[in-house]
Every structure is written in structure tokens, then in C-alpha cells.
């Protein structure tokens, strides 16, 4: 298992300085999560930086009883949003939930601070992940403000299809609804409408997208 994890790290961070690589191996803690499990819960205090070695985690925001999807962290990416809270010891403002079985490498905050200054490559990785997360969040925000649920549902399904490489979406209306911050009935009605428009087919337990 250890050996596998080494492989993951090499794959995720191909350009690390040798010394940094050694340090990561030394202090990094591996954690495995089943599908649909909390990696980070909103309100918690973190003392580590999670890096997704394999699998996918989804970032959720919660407020006023509503939970909605912000964006995904794929393998090889750091869950940088939590970085925000590593330094000022504030509770995290979001939750991270695995989408599938996922292996996470946890790097202690003290080391992260040290490496950020010591290793240029590490600083660049952090910055790059910050950028991506920022862009993803902005994209999501724009979508929410500027488009109705129907458009957002279509985007959501297309996005899922693209990232899974399959035209089939195995999710209940309820789960979709909660990702989009709406209610099940709304999803049911829209999918029905989309089926009439030949954009998808509703099967017993999944949705099949139709290439346009």
C-alpha cells in the first residue's frame, strides 16, 4: 500500500525537488475514505492540508440549512480552500465530501508553511491550486446568478458526464437537487421536460444523456 501511495505522489507532483519529495514521504499521512464520506466538515478546525491522491472530492457550502455544490477537487489537486483557514485558525467555511472511494494525503500545516517558503515548486503548486479553485468558484457563482435552474441542471449533467466519461448519470433526483440547492420536485419536472426535448432519457434508476 505504501508503495502505491508513493506512485500516486509521483504522478500528482511530477516536478518536486527530491528533498521536498523525501519530506513529504516522511511526514505525510495517508487517509482512505469510502464514497460519500466527509473529509472536512464545515465549522471544523484544520491542522492539515489535504491533497487528493486518487478519487474525487466535492466542495460544499452550507448556510441557513441550505447545502450546495461549489466545485470538485480531482486527484493530484490540493484542497486549497482549507489553506485559508490553516493560517488564521478559523473554522473552515465549507465541507468536503468524497464522490467515490478516495485516498487523501494530509500534510501538517507547520510543514506546509515551511515548504511554501523553502521550495519554489511547492509555492507554485499552492498558487496554481488557488487559482483553479478561485476560477471554479467564480464560474459557479456566475452560473448561479445568471442562469435559471434548467440551464444549470443541463450544465451539471454535462459536466458529470464529461468527468466520468460516460453518458449515464447514476444519481437520484434528490441528490441532484441538493447539489444545485433546490428541491426534488423541481428536478423531476425539468428532467421530464428535457426528456420531451430529447436531451436525455430517464431510465429506472439513472439518466442517460443524449449527444446533441
Amino acid at each position: 500500500m505504501e508503495i502505491e501511495n508513493h506512485t500516486y505522489i509521483k504522478r500528482c507532483f511530477p516536478l518536486l525537488e527530491k528533498q521536498l519529495y523525501e519530506e513529504i514521504l516522511e511526514v505525510g499521512v495517508y487517509k482512505e475514505f469510502a464514497a460519500s464520506t466527509y473529509v472536512v466538515k464545515q465549522g471544523a478546525y484544520l491542522d492539515f492540508l489535504p491533497v487528493v491522491l486518487s478519487g474525487v472530492i466535492k466542495m460544499y457550502a452550507e448556510e441557513d440549512g441550505v447545502q450546495f455544490l461549489l466545485y470538485y477537487i480531482n486527484s493530484g489537486e490540493t484542497c486549497i480552500l482549507s489553506f485559508n483557514h490553516l493560517f488564521d485558525q478559523k473554522p473552515v467555511q465549507f465541507s468536503a465530501i468524497t464522490e467515490e472511494p478516495t485516498i487523501v494525503l494530509c500534510l501538517p500545516v507547520s510543514k506546509v508553511k515551511e515548504w511554501f517558503i523553502k521550495y519554489p515548486s511547492f509555492g507554485r503548486i499552492i498558487l496554481k491550486d488557488f487559482q483553479r479553485n478561485f476560477e471554479d468558484l467564480l464560474r459557479t457563482t456566475k452560473d448561479i446568478v445568471c442562469f435559471g435552474i434548467e440551464d444549470r441542471l443541463i450544465k451539471y449533467l454535462e459536466d458529470l458526464s464529461e468527468r466520468s466519461g460516460s453518458m449515464e448519470i447514476h444519481l437520484s433526483h434528490q441528490k441532484i437537487a441538493s447539489d444545485l440547492g433546490t428541491s426534488r420536485e423541481v428536478i423531476s419536472r425539468i428532467t421530464k421536460k428535457l426528456q420531451k426535448e430529447n436531451l436525455l432519457i430517464q431510465h429506472k434508476r439513472h439518466i442517460e444523456l443524449i449527444r446533441n
Copy 2:
């Protein structure tokens, strides 16, 4: 004028290494903007990192003809969102507009990259600003998703009042509406309602908030 700007830089970046400070003085370009002027326009390609020396700029997102306020950049803060686009030469996904007369220090991207690696203090500044912008954006997103316009208007006014240190808001309903991504009539109706509830008083050309 040059001397004044030196003072601004010292005030904004109190902990710079001397050498970095010299470099900034050498290559930084000062730009002055009147109130309500574009500093950055969505879709443009940037080759500099803007730092607000004095004044305030507002970050807007645009999509599908709708423009709405994301958050503010105060004096001493870098407009880090643009940083995103410095590295990958993508057009910026937002606009930055001055709120009041504003002095901006423009740092060339080539130097920014260099300093980020060379000077730990610079890396920390960048990271810190990234954090703040990220948190601000997340806050805004949550507000938009989870609260109705009435609550958001109240927050918006309170926020303005707090940052200006005054209970008087000198903004037209139209301007408020466009910041919140809605229409004037909606603002007019809500302010009228809030007046009935003794939360504010509408004067001829401004709104007076009432301490609760």
C-alpha cells in the same frame, strides 16, 4: 507626488525586505483613477498586478448581460484575482471599477513571478490576499444562494455603512440594484418597506440607516 506614493507603499507593505522595496519603487508604475472608472475590464489581457495604494475598487462579474458585485479591494490589498490570469495569459473573468478616486500601483507580471520565489514576504502577501479574496467571494456566493434580496439589500447597506463609517448611503436605487444584480423597482419597493419597519429613512438623494 512620487514622495506621497512612497509613503503609501510603506503604509501598505510594512514588512517588506529592503531590497524588494527598492525593486518595487524601481519598476512599479503608478496610475490614478477618478471615481467610477474601470481599472480592469472583463475580457482584457493583463500584464500587471494591480495594488490599491489608496481608495477602493469594486470587483464585478459579468455574464449574459448581468453585472453584479463580487467584493471590494481596499487600500493596501492586491487585486489578486487578476493574478489568476497573469500566468496563463487568459482574459480576466471580472471587471474592477473604482469606487472613489484611487491610486493603483501596477507591478509587471515578470517581476511578480520573480519576487514570488525570491522574497518570502512577497509570497506571503500574495497568499494572504488570495485567501481574503477567496473568502469574500465565498461569502458573497453563499449570500446570493441562501438569502432573498431583502436580506441581501440590508447586508449590502450595512456593509457600505460600516466601510464608510457613516450611516448615510449616497447611492441611487439604480446603482444599488445593479450591484445586487436586480432591478430598480425592486430596490425601491424594498427600501419603502424597510422605511416602514424603521430600519432606514429615505431622503431626497440618499438613504439614512437607523441603528437597531
